[in-house]
């Protein structure tokens, strides 16, 4: 790993997580407000996160196991907000019934 490569990898990983968070936040807001503008921004965040992921996979000196791990993480990031939000809605619905 070269000195510049290490810095680029670290920044790439930070952006990867940050954009994943932005996607989750914007997706949740778009669902709650039923606003397609936020949905588009959410998708843009995920697209940016995927682009960062692809560049890390292509250019990083990380080993193949870590790259597979990052790829699986990237896919998981896509589903976490959807699954979490669906679960929360069901949870709140059942909570209202029980209260």
């Amino acid at each position: 790993m070269t000195p510049m490569g290490f810095v680029a990898d670290a920044i790439g990983l930070g952006l990867f997580a940050l954009l994943g968070g932005a996607y989750g936040l914007l997706y949740a807001v778009s669902e709650l407000r039923a606003d397609c503008r936020f949905a588009r921004l959410a998708l843009a965040s995920y697209a940016a996160q995927s682009a960062i992921l692809l560049s890390v996979l292509a250019f990083s000196a990380l080993g193949p196991i870590w790259k597979v791990f990052l790829l699986v993480s990237g896919i998981a990031y896509y589903f976490i907000p959807r699954v979490t939000l669906r679960y929360l809605k069901n949870l709140h619905a059942s909570g209202e019934i029980h209260s």
Binding site: T2, F6, V7, A28, L32, I80, T84, H98
Partner: protein, 477 residues
Amino acid sequence: MTSVRSLYSSQKLALRYFTLSVALFGVMIVFGLVAATQYIHPSFLFPALAFNMVKTMHVDVLILWLLTAFFGSLFWLLPSEFKRDLVGMRAANVVFWLFCATIAAVALTFLFVQTGPGTDKTLWLINQGRKYVEEPRWAAVVVAIGIAVFVYNIIGTAVAAKRVTGITAVIILNMIPLFGLYMIAFPAMTNMALDQFWWWWLVHFWVEATWEVLIGAIVALVLMRVMNASRSVVETWLYIEVALVLATGVLGIGHHYFWMGAPKYWLGIGGFFSALEPLPLLGMVIHAVYDAGEHKMKMTNQPAFYWTMLEAFGNFIGAGVWGFMITLPQINLFAHGTQWTASHGHLAFWGAYGCGVISVIYLAVQEAGGHEQIGGRAWKWAFGLLNTGMYGMGGSLLIAGMAQAFYERAIGGSTFNAYVAAQQTPWFLEGIWMRWVFGLIFTAGYAVLAGNLIAIARRSRVPVAAGTLAVEGAGTR
């Protein structure tokens, strides 16, 4: 509505703990500012205040202000869960004053004695020399007794009340590792690798396991009061969060074992599990957004609500994003122990714990004072200044730390010359300067926060007397 408010004796003690906590928060900031100044002017206040002791005070008081706030939070919130006062309050009050005296004595020892020869006497009376638990052994005994009494206050009350809710069950289970792990503060092993191995059990598992569970339970109780959230929803989500945080956080301890003599397999285990840690934190962000939307941002205590929300976001940013940058072993090799790590530490502690306990303190001053609503402008200034200061410090330290990792480690090969050279690069120097500037902004935020809390407490609308304040509106939906 009755015009007379009442406080349980545990809640009166909670207010004392909150006062102590806010005061310690201020002490931590003062020593942080002194340390930040010494990075720019190394001779500042030297030799009266050497950097090593200033840093020790800064990080030890960090633990103390949060720990005392946790104690206060549970003393404040739990009577509503148990529907009664907590047991053993006389002992708890003694422990409080014992803590105050011990903190003062240890601080004076650190400031005026500082170090001693490598003997048992030094371990017992001056300094144990292990980061975060430097307090001399006699003081560690006092802390252990204090925690034991605290555990008794909680478990004894559950037994006496014959009532355990989902949240209190989580808190009670959490008391066992909270006390048990602190026992690691005592041994003084001569093998550094072994010593570090077990010491990380205390530091990592307190911070990334027992404290995470504790703050999760506290935030659950706060959400029920501030937003009248449903108990069944809050409890279910708490179980999920606790399970996910523990699933990733327990073996995530491996990221501390990379470079201290532990077996090589920790590189893979630590890297993998700690890299998973942002995922449950992302779930918490979604939950925070959903709660805010579900309740249409209607709340009786704006500051408590916003600080609670920020806890989810701050935890994701500080622990998740900043942690993810440096947690893989290939990168951690260069980044560990630099200002980059300090940047991560500042943001993670602030997001995961600082914001949460400030939220509870706002809730307590509201309920103690009988205010139906808390709002105004002062808390917004405090919120803005504190967060601008903290995220500014995090960003500045990140730049300084990246310069260190790049010039000192990756290019210079970690030699002493490279260490000195890295500290003279413009990136490092400007980062350290900017940290100092943002530290001043943070200090201004603290002043506004403390002033706002005092002003709210003084504006109490109704007198305090005997009664049942704690059971009102505590998530009974």
